[in-house]
Amino acid sequence: MRKKVNLDSVYAPSEDVVAREVQGEFIIIPIASGIGDLEDEIFSLNETGRAIWDKLDGKASLRQIVKDLSSNFEGSSEDIEKDVTGLVEGLLKRRMVIEKRRV
């Protein structure tokens, strides 16, 4: 089931995962069981995913993150918003990020 992502919410990496950059790959490794679809998987983020992940600091709302990324990357705000919400939805589904609060 897809989790609803709210643009006014603040998200942060879950303590149940650890992110590492290894040989140019940005990977997310489960710490606790039940992360992802199976336990024997790690996940890697592409460049887009990495740029968004770095902003998920538990302080900025997704709306703020979209705004920041729009000033640094090419592309319409709509596309960037779609990217951000798409990624966060995927991460939430896998319990890799948590919703901290709503602004």
């Binding site: 040989q23 336990e39 983020l45 592309g75």
Partner: protein
């Protein structure tokens, strides 16, 4: 920004995750202790559990963590905790959690006798991401404890394995084939096949290594007496004949050839190594030759990997006997002769190990690579023979 798939699943056991190059340190073995709560008759590394001197010399918790932290900075993805019995360390849990929370996969080699409900629960909540490997010494108390020489160890092992099953912690089992338990193989394999994570029959050790510290001549003689005869070993390895031949065809076509005077033909020290219980880093878990170990208390993994290990890997054989036999022998690869085994058997890096030579020859005869009474290092048309064998149709 591009709309595309952001999160890619990766198989954690995929050999080559890395697009650019392999990390300097891809995997690390740490022998947390040489002590063990069992006293197995065949073991090459088991000091008594209560050996105070050994315990005092072991790396401290902080020293192990420092090594793990450096390993992570070198892009290491996987650490193996082994021993002795790693669960004997009072700080095992702390080290395990530290490694996992730092983003390492952890492979644990254990006899399972010290697995408590608490530890099984920990492995369940914070999975190692590698199947735990449990060595089994017998299917009955009498056979098991004839090997381990530790009263109550069979019950403790069954209990430990039961806890892993209960908590659904993935593990596999492997056997040590000894006179005390070799008639229990079928029973063992039947039992092992019911373990949900066993995707193939268990592996066995049967040609046991000698004491890796070369400290106990009497024990070494006794270990030699426990090794299966090469013919017996062959019979066991070829029980699933077609599967075995298929594997050997693939293996031989890729990996066997004369090594010439190059001593290290395996992957030892290439992108990994082993830290012993006292902080010495070596390219291979078996290789304790003083010229091949690096003191981490006065240096770093990086220094060893960049400055010492490449030099070790370039070492050449000089022993005339080795040069006239092993260096010319095309069974290298099939034969487990290596500097580490030469060291444990003879105290040098380049002395032929006779029983390994016998095993390789008996295998090669079975596979049709050499004829009766032929010595592999005298074979000149070895390339043709390997090709003919690799191309042979099943049953042909």
């Amino acid at each position: 920004m591009q709309s595309e798939s952001y999160v890619l699943k990766q198989d954690i056991n995929k050999a080559s995750l890395w697009k650019v190059a392999k990390p300097l340190l891809g995997r690390l073995d740490i022998e947390l202790t040489e002590r063990c709560n069992n006293n197995c008759i065949h073991c090459c590394i088991n000091l008594p559990a209560d050996d105070i001197d050994a315990k005092q010399k072991e790396l401290s918790t902080e020293e192990v963590k420092k090594i793990l932290a450096e390993a992570i900075s070198l892009d290491c993805m996987s650490v193996r905790f082994t021993g002795g019995e790693p669960l004997l360390r009072e700080d095992f849990e702390e080290l395990y959690i530290f490694a996992r929370k730092s983003g390492l996969k952890v492979l644990v080699f254990t006899n399972a006798t010290l697995i408590t409900p608490h530890l099984a629960e920990l492995f369940s909540h914070i999975p190692p991401l590698e199947k735990i490997e449990v060595t089994v010494y017998g299917m009955r108390e009498s056979s098991y404890e004839a090997v381990t020489r530790a009263s109550g160890s069979f019950e403790a092992f069954r209990q430990g394995v039961g806890l892993l099953l209960e908590e659904k912690v993935p593990f596999v089992v492997k056997g040590a084939l000894l006179p005390q338990n070799k008639n229990e193989m079928d029973e063992f394999e039947k039992w092992a096949s019911a373990i949900p994570w066993m995707d193939r029959p268990p592996l066995y050790s049967m040609f046991f290594d000698l004491r890796c510290r070369r400290e106990d001549g009497i024990k070494n003689e006794s270990i030699k007496g426990l090794r299966l005869k090469p013919e017996e070993g062959l019979k066991i390895l070829t029980r699933r004949k077609n599967e075995y031949i298929k594997q050997m065809q693939e293996f031989c076509s890729k990996f066997i050839r004369p090594p010439k005077d190059k001593l290290f033909c395996c992957g030892s020290g290439l992108d990994g190594g082993c830290v012993d219980a006292y902080g010495y880093f070596q390219p291979c878990i078996m290789l304790r030759h003083p010229g091949c170990v690096y003191d981490l208390k006065n240096g770093s993994l990086k220094d060893a990997l960049t400055n010492l290990f490449p030099k070790i890997r370039e070492m050449k054989a000089t022993n005339p006997e080795y040069l006239s036999r092993c260096a010319k022998c095309f069974l290298k690869g099939l034969c487990e002769q290596c500097p580490a085994r030469s060291w444990s058997e003879h105290g040098t890096l380049d002395t032929p190990v006779e029983f390994l030579c016998q095993i390789a020859h008996i295998h090669a005869r079975f596979l049709g690579l050499i004829k009766e009474n032929e010595l592999a290092w005298e074979v000149l048309d070895w390339k043709d023979r390997i090709k003919k064998f690799a191309d042979k149709k099943p049953g042909g």
